[in-house]
Amino acid sequence: MATVRLEFSPEPAHVRTVRLVGVAVARRAGVADDQLDEVRLAIGEACARAVARHQRLGIRDAVQVAFSDGDRYLVKVTDKAPEPEQLDGEEQLTVDVSVTLLQGLVKDLQMMPLSSGSGTEVRMGWPVKRRSR
């Protein structure tokens, strides 16, 4: 079960907020301190990607993010955008750099189309330290 769920209108201004939440929940979940920069960046990238996908096609639906703790810290970012026809040079560069960065950053990463309807899902996981409860 997700510990925290967040939905936000597809505006760049909210991505920072999601990073804040993602790091705060990660810390509580027991993710190691030296991984928090990576968590911050990866969540930011996944959300920036989702916002860009919505904005390119004028989709007003919210982007959804779910944060779950447990054996691992799991973050899922869901967009609702169909694949765009054609990107211009700078857009394509940004997409490529973003995906390269996510893949280089996060070992436990999955990016896939939604099983029903338009959109994609980015799933990321990080180990957590055992905590005394």
Partner: protein
């Protein structure tokens, strides 16, 4: 902290000091400022990331865009980045091989 931008001149280079967070929200302001400098006829631009706490791929894209534009207008273009945490994202994306990166403003302005 949000984005901060300030310029100063060091040995005939215009150094754009960037501070705070360069992300999908703030990067357009950085892009605009770099364009202004290059379109304003400045012949040597150094983007100093020394006070940047956070940068995402949008920020990287803006730097690549600035570098390309500098070639178009025939200006020199350098990026100062000494922080390991930031260098990492240049390396992961291979952009450390594309962009002229320097360890310090001194190194960038005497290059």
């Amino acid at each position: 902290m949000e984005l901060s931008l300030a310029t100063r001149v060091v040995s005939a280079h215009t150094v754009l000091e960037v501070g705070g967070e360069v992300d999908v929200y703030t990067a357009p302001k950085l892009r605009e400022r770099i364009s202004e400098l290059l379109e304003g006829g400045i012949g040597a631009v150094v983007v100093d990331l020394g006070k940047v706490d956070f940068m995402d791929s949008t920020g990287l894209g803006v730097l690549v865009g600035g570098f390309r534009k500098s070639r178009t207008v025939g200006a020199s273009f350098g990026v100062v980045c000494g922080k390991e945490s930031l260098l990492k994202i240049f390396r992961i994306t291979g952009l450390d091989q594309v962009l002229p990166l320097y360890q310090s403003v001194d190194a960038a302005t005497t290059a």
